[in-house]
Subunit: 281 residues, 2 copies
């Protein structure tokens, strides 16, 4: 159980790591430690009082009961390889990684046996980078997905739920790594590939004055972190490519209906999409 | 020039026709006439005081100086064929049709020589149908596109601009029929085909609880008028099919980058889409 005495460490004080620190601090938790290789992020965390301790030296994490990695996936794995010696025996390790199968496999393979890892995904990304954009209210109404494996203890699951509660996530769900990655491939990764492709397909700057809500809604997420997302796409490529192929098939079917002037076929498609979308409102 | 004495008629009192009447009325114009084959819409317009005169009999339009068709494209052409005899000599006819080349061709071919038609497109559709959803504030900040041909008079262009001003459209633009249809094929029709295809590609109801802003933004316009849009798609099929093909090509290129784990290629795509999207903010 997390108490006000629990010492919480965050590795990687970017947008999400910084938001975790802000969220815990706002909720009255003071034993907060931040690690970042960027000295500017460290200085910001100390000067703004976001963390009690912060350093670019990973050993600062040594007394933490809970350690949250907010690193990019490959950096997270490398960090554990190099620095897990500093983790306190019996501490709980969790993360924020946006795809889960590969990171769970890799961390499970290398992690010390006296540290438990429970994978979590706060669905609360934004198009900006860096601790200065950290914002604890970002988590309100957001989804927090816990992605346990058979090796996780009940206690770890409980602690992960408590973290989501403290940070005021709107919805907590538990999914298997496969369920998580399939869902993310559809609701998040496919939608970003669509937005980027729509934005990139032609030089449309001359059309800016005519774009109404439709175009703006569909391309909002075309502003995207160019370092993080390609890595996430590749780590989920089997599911994501399957989703893209399914979507392209559906687009082509509709395209052929237009070409063949199949008014009734299109009408049925629009009735279906209207019905389905209503269920989301 | 439109004055408070100008008699304005609206044919088809649905969502848009009703919004025109509401907008004119709000702006202090009282000589308003509505025509609709649906007696319920006629009764609503009279009872709510939206129109001074309203009827299912098209001859009620006979004293109007300006006549606005808010009918579906094929209904508009048929209406003119059957009822243009009731139009006052010298009156100005305009419309709201979402694609322009075909409707301009057809109306020009059949219209009486003593009536001028100037094509206009208020980009202010919604997913609802019917006069009860009419809303004059819908036009605020929206685009009003005037689509003249070489046959239009300066006076008609001026009157079309005045209509947009009275209804408080945010932006008035003048485009040729080809420019208009190409632009609409991209910013409006393609985006609706994408939203519908994303919504329809799989039964995703079980994922509703995980959908964040991205999925909701991309599918909002999947609630769509199933009678109107197939007709608009077919009337613009050359441009629309070309846009769909271009979009699908871009999706496939990105898909192959994922498959080939081309991180650098994807990064360049995301940098481009981010740059372009920024220009819209």
């Amino acid at each position: 159980m997390i108490t006000k005495d629990t010492s919480i460490g965050v590795i990687g004080m970017g947008l999400l790591g910084g938001s975790y620190l802000k969220g815990f601090k706002k909720a009255g938790y003071c034993r907060l430690t931040g690690v970042d290789r960027d000295e500017k992020a460290v200085a910001y965390a100390l000067e703004s009082g976001l963390a009690e301790k912060a350093s670019s030296d990973p050993s600062v994490i040594a007394d933490c009961d809970i350690v949250i990695s907010a690193l990019y996936p490959h950096v997270f794995v490398k960090w554990i390889e190099e620095n897990q010696k500093y983790l306190k025996a019996g501490c709980l390790l969790t993360d924020v990684t946006g795809v889960k199968r590969s990171v769970i496999d890799e961390i499970s393979r290398i992690l010390r046996s006296d540290v438990e890892f429970i994978a979590c995904h706060p669905m609360a990304g934004r198009e900006y980078k860096g601790i200065r954009f950290a914002d604890e209210t970002r988590f309100e109404n957001a989804n927090y997905i816990i992605v346990p494996t058979g090796k996780n203890t009940e206690e770890a699951l409980q602690t992960a739920s408590e973290i989501a509660g403290i940070l005021k996530f709107g919805n907590i769900a538990v999914l298997s790594p496969e369920e998580h990655d399939r869902m993310i491939g559809f609701v998040s990764q496919l939608t970003h590939v669509i937005a980027v492709s729509l934005m990139n397909m032609s030089d449309n700057s001359s059309l800016a004055e005519y774009t109404g809500d439709s175009f703006r809604d569909l391309t909002r997420i075309a502003r995207i972190n160019e370092d993080l997302w390609p890595e996430l796409f590749v780590l989920n490529k089997d599911y994501l490519v399957e989703q893209i192929d399914g979507f392209v098939r559906e687009m082509k079917q509709f395209r052929d209906m237009i070409e063949n002037e199949d008014l009734e076929g299109m009408k049925q498609k629009l009735i279906l999409s209207t019905e389905r979308r209503k269920a989301f409102d």
